[in-house]
Symmetry: C2
Subunit: 227 residues, 2 copies
């Protein structure tokens, strides 16, 4: 029986690494990565390639989406805005929010999926325990599925899957370990490319997740605060 | 009173030229153009700049979205697929269809609008009398407005406006002339950059529109068939 093809959005971070492990249980994988001008792109791309190799992805595409740096408005892509230190219990949207980034990512993924004939788009978005980005919520993905249904060819059937959407970071880590996901190959830090900084939002969420899962994070940190 | 800012998607074609004239009646204009690797990009960009100058656009942004050429799947961006000759009464989706292109365009426009504080996104999409692209229908834009509402910051209010969606080409031309839109500066041909080819889908729709409006098209053609 022919196995269906799924596009998996792989930033190189822990969530996308676990998402790939989930997709790999049922689908042939087409790995998609976006270079949107983020400060740690070189390091993220290395993780993307390492994880793609680990999972034997049939197809790989790295998309140049650096127009985000021209649009600006985020500390991740705009050098005039500093990456803020973690304040993971704040209800404010952090400066690392890239305006409407996930809609851009999904639009690119849908174009790619339609051309290669994939039936799913896997994305490791997390609503619970996330940084509060408005485009990481379950109803955002539901609304986008409707746009895909209307906006693609009648014969095209593509559905976004968000297997982590309701999980906590600690649950994602446990799930990853249960499935044998190569977490040691993933990269989460928003700020550094050699050793993870340990203090940005993304490092903080990762470290807190490992702590609460009772597992040691296999990657190295410059400093490793206890969150 | 401060005038609100509107992002206007300006390909350089006739529809976007008329859309800009409509937006200019009420808004300060931020012109946005996408280079998505289309064969006639150089000529379209000239029209974009000419039309921006005509309307005195406050802001201008040209986005490099050439990832479409990597994704492929359309005669407009993929050199292995020829641009087909016009068959404007066919119910088939033509080879010039760029998979899910308008969703990508709207996602970029929304990111831009959120950063610059615009309240509207004007796009010259046409449902009636169009080439049958699935992402040119009114319900596609309604669904996308829902995605914007959910996926942007709570304080952000951005709405897509499609003032041409229910017009025929001939009505768009009449509207443009009524508003003094510079149709002589616009470019529609999918295939040529010096003289319009007269035979691609886009030339055919344009010529048929002018004929049915009883007006002479001010641009020059290599050949000018009667549609």
């Amino acid at each position: 029986m022919k196995i269906d093809l799924a596009v998996v959005l792989v930033s190189g971070g822990m969530d996308s690494c676990v998402t790939a492990a989930i997709a790999a249980q049922k689908y042939e994988l087409a790995f998609l990565h976006l270079n949107y001008g983020q400060k740690t792109e070189r390091r993220e791309l290395k993780s993307f390639q390492d994880i793609a190799k680990f999972f034997n992805a049939t197809k790989k595409l790295v998309v140049d989406a650096r127009f985000f740096t021209e649009i600006g408005g985020s500390s991740l892509t705009d050098d005039s805005i500093p990456v803020s230190q973690a304040d993971i219990d704040s209800k404010e949207i952090p400066s690392s929010y890239v305006p409407f980034r996930n809609a851009n990512i999904l639009a690119i993924a849908t174009s790619y999926a339609e051309v290669i004939g994939a039936v799913k788009i896997f994305i490791g978005a997390v609503e619970e325990d996330s940084s509060g980005y408005p485009d990481c919520r379950a109803d955002f993905y539901e609304a986008f599925n409707r746009v895909i249904d209307i906006g693609t060819k009648p014969a095209t059937k593509i559905v976004i899957e968000t297997p982590l959407i309701n999980l906590k970071k600690s649950e994602i880590i446990k799930k990853g370990i249960e499935l044998g996901a190569p977490l040691q190959l993933s990269w989460s830090c928003y700020q550094s490319e050699d050793l993870a900084c340990g203090v940005c939002d993304s490092c903080a969420l990762r470290l807190r997740g490992f702590k609460s899962a009772g597992i040691e994070d296999p990657i190295k940190y410059k400093i490793r605060p206890v969150y």
